[in-house]
């Protein structure tokens, strides 16, 4: 196992598919053997899903920079006693938990509903992926409808 843990930023980029293929593969391999990083990944994903679920429920897009502002607020806030204790025992957990709490306060209680994990994905997500990929082939049709308005993140 690679002993160099990915940074939180790299984990975010990994989840959003922003890394180069080689770095993506390296982080995937690392996470497969590193419980701590796997937990960090799961927590980051949970936060993203929470925010997306809220945005979807309210039929509006996630406000730009909201995650960044939450992170900044957490980073600049003096640590509480509880956070210091948590950090002492579980440093990888404290920040994600604080972020989740901040997100909860930002979006309100209602957004806690309907965020369960799913094992199936909206079929339109597969169709859209196929359409985007095949758009580069010579005899493809262009999308007849704006894909950004006909699909979401695919979660059920």
């Amino acid at each position: 196992m690679n002993q160099t843990h990915p940074t939180p930023e790299e984990i975010v980029d990994y989840l959003h598919g922003e890394l180069s293929p080689s770095r993506d593969a390296a982080i995937h391999a690392h996470i497969a053997g590193c419980a701590e990083c796997a937990q960090a990944r799961d927590e980051e994903r949970s936060l993203t899903e929470l925010l997306r679920a809220h945005a979807k429920g309210q039929e509006r897009e996630l406000p730009q920079g909201v995650v960044a502002s939450i992170r900044a607020a957490v980073a600049h806030r003096p640590p509480s006693l509880w956070e210091r204790l948590s950090a002492a025992f579980r440093p990888a957990v404290a920040v994600p938990v604080a972020i989740a709490i901040a997100a909860f306060l930002y979006f309100g209680v209602r957004s806690m509903h309907g965020t369960a994990r799913a094992s199936t994905i909206d079929a339109s997500y597969f169709v859209d992926c196929h359409a985007m990929q095949s758009a580069a082939t010579p005899l493809s049709d262009d999308d007849p409808l704006p894909p950004a308005l006909t699909s979401d993140d695919g979660s059920q």
């Binding site: 293929p21 897009e61 169709v127 010579p138 704006p146």
Partner: protein, 343 residues
């Protein structure tokens, strides 16, 4: 629209050049058209017109109408007039980025598709694939919406079926009409460019509103031709794609995260038709329930089959890997290809 039409013409000519007997059988050859001219045409010709597109599935059809304005070399704007929920929505395409402007929500959705970069690199390969699998036949010359066109039919060499019919503007080399046919010969899609006017389009028409919120939407990473590397980087025992019946070859692919499940996606093509294969080691599948799925057999396994518009989806597992095939193919075709993937 512009990119697709550009490649359509290029590919057709490549195919036609590979089938001189078919072209020679026509009563009158079109005026000389070089491949270079065709490739350059969309980057030289500005135009505006109205596009009418229809896709026909087993359970209904989807029609779209939009006004298109193309400013050479690479700017395209589409303004939708139908269906009604898209009335007023317009898109601006710049290279591999599409900006969808939604006046009702006062926002711009930015969608980046790095996979489109592949088309420019692989044009030669695609043309060869078409030539390998299709026979081009000049069907005649006529006027279409006031423009002189050459009609070309592409016939699949493996099935003998006419798969695509196009009308190409003989002067500008722009495709004005494209029809695609299903396995039974029925029309499954048509896209027409009508009321075309070849004239400069003012740059102001391509200006985005500066007071709208900009939202990033789906991003598709650039794909790779190196399927061996994709298999190696998958992180699970993905199957390396093999050539499929009817000339389908794996042309590229990438690794995607489907709701937390690492998935390898391969794109197959026979030059005209395309097929995406998703493979994962963890159970993840499309939710076909709203599409009234049917159960088919792939080898000794059950598979779920459904259609969304003219796109077929087939999902199954072999006990080790989970597969989903997606493509504009009929049920029998996609079942036969799945059987070749997973005999």
């Amino acid at each position: 629209m512009v990119r697709s039409k550009r490649f359509v013409v290029a590919a057709l000519l490549a195919a036609a050049l590979s089938a001189p007997a078919a072209a020679a059988s026509s009563a009158k050859a079109p005026s000389a058209i070089s491949l270079a001219q065709v490739l350059d045409a969309p980057s030289l010709v500005s135009y505006s017109g109205v596009v009418e597109s229809v896709r026909i599935g087993d359970r209904g059809a989807q029609a779209t109408v939009y006004r298109v304005e193309h400013r050479a070399p690479d700017l395209t704007r589409r303004t939708y007039t139908a269906p009604s929920e898209y009335l007023g929505v317009w898109e601006l395409v710049k290279g591999n980025v599409t900006y969808t402007v939604d006046p009702a929500r006062r926002r711009i959705v930015e969608t980046r598709n790095d996979a489109t970069l592949r088309g420019r690199r692989a044009l030669g390969d695609d043309a060869q694939l078409i030539a390998a699998n299709y026979r081009a036949s000049v069907a005649g010359f006529e006027n279409f919406d006031g423009r002189p066109v050459v009609d070309v039919l592409l016939v699949n060499k493996h099935t003998g079926r006419g798969t695509m019919f196009v009308r190409i503007d003989r002067e500008t080399k722009i495709v004005l009409d494209k029809q695609e046919f299903g396995p039974d010969g029925s029309l499954i899609s048509e896209i027409r460019l009508e009321r075309i006017a070849y004239k400069p389009v003012p740059a102001i028409d391509f200006t985005l509103p500066n007071d709208y919120a900009v939202v990033r939407a789906q991003v598709l990473r650039e794909s790779s031709h190196d399927t061996a590397r994709l298999v190696r980087d998958a992180g699970f025992g993905a199957r390396r794609p093999q050539p499929l019946p009817e000339g389908f070859s794996s042309v590229d692919g990438n690794i995607v995260d489907l709701h937390g499940v690492r998935t390898v996606r391969f794109l197959y093509s026979d030059g005209i038709r395309t097929l995406s294969l998703f493979e994962s080691a963890t159970a993840v599948s499309p939710n076909l329930a709203p599409l009234h799925p049917q159960t088919l057999r792939i080898g000794n396994r059950d598979a779920q089959y459904a259609e969304e518009g003219d796109v077929a989806l087939l999902s199954w597992n072999d006990g080790t890997l989970y597969y989903t095939l997606v493509g504009e193919l009929g049920r029998a075709d996609i079942q036969r290809l799945a059987a070749a993937i997973n005999p």
